[in-house]
Symmetry: C2
Amino acid sequence: MRIGELATLAGVSTRTVRHYHHLNLLPEPERLANGYREYRLRDAVVLTRVRRLAELGMSLDEIRDVLADDQGRELREVLLELDADLARQQETIGARRNRLAALLAETDLHPDSTVSPDMAKVLRDLSVEGSKFAEMDRELLALMDTVADPADRAGFIDLFRPLTEPEAAARGHALYARLDELTDADPGDPRVATLAADLAAHFPDEMVTALVANLDAAPDHLRPPTTENADGGHWLTTMYPELSAAQTEVFRLVMVMLKERG
Amino acid sequence: MRIGELATLAGVSTRTVRHYHHLNLLPEPERLANGYREYRLRDAVVLTRVRRLAELGMSLDEIRDVLADDQGRELREVLLELDADLARQQETIGARRNRLAALLAETDLHPDSTVSPDMAKVLRDLSVEGSKFAEMDRELLALMDTVADPADRAGFIDLFRPLTEPEAAARGHALYARLDELTDADPGDPRVATLAADLAAHFPDEMVTALVANLDAAPDHLRPPTTENADGGHWLTTMYPELSAAQTEVFRLVMVMLKERG
DNA sequence: ACTTGACCTTGTCGTAGCGTCAACGTGTCC
DNA sequence: GGACACGTTGACGCTACGACAAGGTCAAGT
């Protein structure tokens, strides 16, 4: 038998056979005078045994070990381990399909993007035409949706809910507009302080206490600008370098006010 | 944000981030004076979006295409396709686990090797101490178990059943012994013809007709030695070069006799 | 001033299981 | 003698990074 016959007999390519030789999975047979490999039935038996195990999902290394260990108890152990491995794979694939189904249900309603269903609603409600700040918040929320743990995620959604409720939406849009207006303003502009006060007034008391507690626990680079971040807003300026000084000042003031209330 | 912060924020390694840059999955951000990459929140949003899709099992190429196609209908198609792909994977893994379970049940009874359950029984019954020919037949059957389609496989098992039935086993062992005896014999030895006749007598009529029909349809290199294979037993000598001339002559005669009967 | 340590940079090799060339020799058939 | 189907070795490609190497940068401690 030459390599092509062996390969078609076992249902593999000749490349596969040579690959197995290279890995010492299949012993190199004798060569004919012209250099061709000459196989016997024994080789076909070994090859099909290898294939059988490979098709079960075993790695070629494992197969080599098992066959080298000359049939027996070792095989059972490896097969059991393999079964456990396959079970894990099934679970992860199942989990993926579940997440996929959730995503598909969402994109079915609105072909937005890849976020969780409840967050998607907030993002839709928060889409304000032409406001750079609304877009910023949407970015922030989209990010928090995936990086924060579920408890914090719910907190963030609540944080923005006042801006998305139908009766409050108009007021929310007005706030975004006032922020956008400060693009070219001076940090000492009188509108800065009043806007900060209006923004701070938006947060219910119990949310403020939870928020302040969370902030103290947050890692430094995720902490919004407060008086402690001495350079005047580390977080906001690194995350959004394009903000004007007046705009960052608004947020600094808001944080100070919230700190005092919490 | 520097690369380490971005990476921990998204829950990946810095290597992964740079890899995504290399693949144009994530745009290269501006560099600081020292050459460090300086990221913004926008980048974190993109990165988490990529990760979200990657964790669903999409390839990075697909993700790039989807994100490039700027959100929308394309995403749905790809997700549906992905779901179908995952479903296929689940099926194949399920099939693997089924085969594994069958194998485990078999090795539970007898730690033989990797064959189907019914074949395993034949192989056990066929194990004759010290007979080279019994081993050959075991090899042959093990091979046929995996390469032949189920119908032929059953045929092969039936072919050997006369040798494995308890009441006939002794006669089978005797036949193997008589074959083994011919190792150093001359092809013209009188024992050759009588052994061939005894062997041929073992096959029931209906099996002979089926066998002969099958042989005509078989590809050339799988066809056992007959008078048509003019060089005196192509199949047997290539598969088992260590056979003596007397032994191959036995099989040639058997095939001739069967041909006449069929 | 020096060292440590934690970052950052680019570049290269390795992974599993082959597919897919390339560049070449062999053997058979018309 | 040319086509064609086979065989040979060798090397690169693929996925999604991990794990080095061999440096440069920066803040803190001694």
